[in-house]
Amino acid sequence: MFKYLEVLFRHWVRFALLCLGLPLIAGGAALFAFQGKDGSAQLWVDTPSYIGNIQTASGWNQYLTPAQNTVDSLNQLILTDSFYQKLGQGLIDSGTVNSWSQSNQVLGEVRGTLTATAAGSHLVTIKVECRMAAVCVQVLTTTIAVHRDWLIQTEKQQADVASKFYTAQLQQAKEHQQATIDTFNAYVASHPTPANTVPAPDPQFDRLQSDVRQAQTQVIDLQDKLQAVQFSYDAASEIDQTALRVIDPPATSGGTFTSVTKKLAIAIAAGAALPGIAYLVFLGWIDRTTRNPKEIEGRVGVRVVTLIRNLNAKPT
């Protein structure tokens, strides 16, 4: 250790140039050569409260703001591989990249930089860092589109399941209603009331009549619910257009030192420092001269009795 430190301090100018100067130059050059673009888009997220019973989008937490709910779902979505597959496909389809290998390279760059944050109760900001402006815009556009598709798909699936459920219940309710009507009609037929007479109170008649009314109410109620679900299914795309509006379309601000650029510059600077470190190790390794009294004592087995400075050195 002492030996390497001694080599370092002995040739400090050389090592300052090699281990600091060269990495600084290389890192600085990398920063300017690989300047990135910051892309961003802003979305306005609203709760479609005017549409009857659909108060919140599926999966939303009622205690969070619309922006927070959207950020939560977006940030989970961008963790999935299927999202990046769709993003890659979107980049190829739009002609931003020409091949899957280029697409994968771009995806590798943007994977850690694509983020969504809530800028307010309803405002969501999506940001990404890329090497090219077109890539940034396309990534943001595709991200918004994929998220919207995902929302619509989820809404439709939920509505579809609800529709099937209510259809089955309605069928059952209709059958029950028909049965109560048939029972009622049979009773009326078997207990005719003579004309111009006041019917005597009949509890059985009243009960059957009440059953028929209840069955009819249930059928109407289920028909209303089914209708609402079907409307929700049909209007899912419109609901999401309303709930998720692009306020500021994807755009880039160029020429900035993005985190990708900084990481790249740090990697290049570290790489540039390696020759200096290797040179230091080499010089230390080849130096077999006596420098450290402790090392001498250890190697030779004889005590170093005194250390004498250079006779011509100035007294300190």
């Binding site: 077999r288 001498i296 250390l307 400075r309 250079n310 006779l311």
Partner: protein, 248 residues
């Protein structure tokens, strides 16, 4: 030529160095040969002092006899400068006669050059029997003396063999409690192991950022760890900040 080495010659040289005869009345005193003024910074001498004080010398009677060899793996690691610094520190601290012997016969930077001596005969010439022993006072200290190697000629190994065979160092021990021997470097001089026998304890000099650790290990193997009193890390100029070194 070996017979030319005589005890009387040694004693005369020591006597001339330690007890110079006063000039007769009416005659001008002939000055003793001196080195140029040794002008080392106090912090350097202090570090050299720290080095020699860490050496566990053996007690001989009431006095401590210090015969310390200074060597290094190869030339150019500051061995001679540190040997001089230790000799100066020892002479100043103990006040006892101190002798600095140059036994590195192949050094390109000998005592002649470092201490500003006139090129002349030295230890080699005495070993060859061609000249008397030449002890030079190390200025400004009165009790520090230098024995330069002189010209080794073409066969320094033979001279070192002759030196180790002689009892010159033993004779010096009687008059000089402190003897510092600037030994040849261990790895690039063939006779260095032989020369290292002259000293009881040895300090090994390593130069910061220049001496190879492997070389230092080889030196320890050649000398034997029990004879090596320690390693002096010379030219220590670490660039790592002190606070960071302390943490590590």
């Amino acid at each position: 030529m070996a017979e030319a080495i005589s005890d009387q010659d040694i004693e005369e040289a020591i006597s001339a160095a330690l007890k110079p005869k006063p000039a007769p009345p009416g005659f001008a005193a002939i000055g003793r040969e001196r080195t140029k003024l040794i002008n080392m910074p106090p912090w350097f001498i202090d570090r050299c002092r720290q080095a020699y004080l860490s050496v566990p010398f053996e007690e001989r009677g009431e006095h401590q006899q210090r015969v310390l060899g200074i060597t290094s793996p190869v030339h150019g690691e500051g061995k001679t400068s540190i040997a001089i610094g230790i000799a100066v520190a020892m002479a100043a601290d103990t006040g006892e006669p101190t002798l600095l012997v140059e036994s590195d016969l192949a050094s390109s930077v000998g005592f002649d050059q470092v201490l500003g001596l006139n090129r002349g005969p030295g230890l080699c010439a005495w070993l060859e029997g061609s000249n008397r022993l030449r002890l030079i006072q190390a200025a400004p200290l009165e009790n520090a003396f230098v024995l330069p190697a002189g010209d080794a000629g073409s066969d320094p190994a033979r001279l070192i063999f002759r030196l180790t065979s002689s009892d010159l160092i033993e004779k010096f021990k009687a008059s000089f409690p402190n003897i510092i021997i600037d030994l040849p470097p261990m790895l690039n001089i063939a006779y260095s192991s032989l020369a290292s026998r002259l000293a009881d304890k040895i300090l090994v000099i390593a130069r910061y950022g220049r001496t190879m650790t492997d070389d230092l290990e080889k030196v320890m193997f050649l000398l034997g760890r029990e004879r090596v009193a320690g390693v002096v890390l010379n030219d220590y100029e670490p660039k790592t900040p002190g606070w960071l070194r302390r943490i590590l």
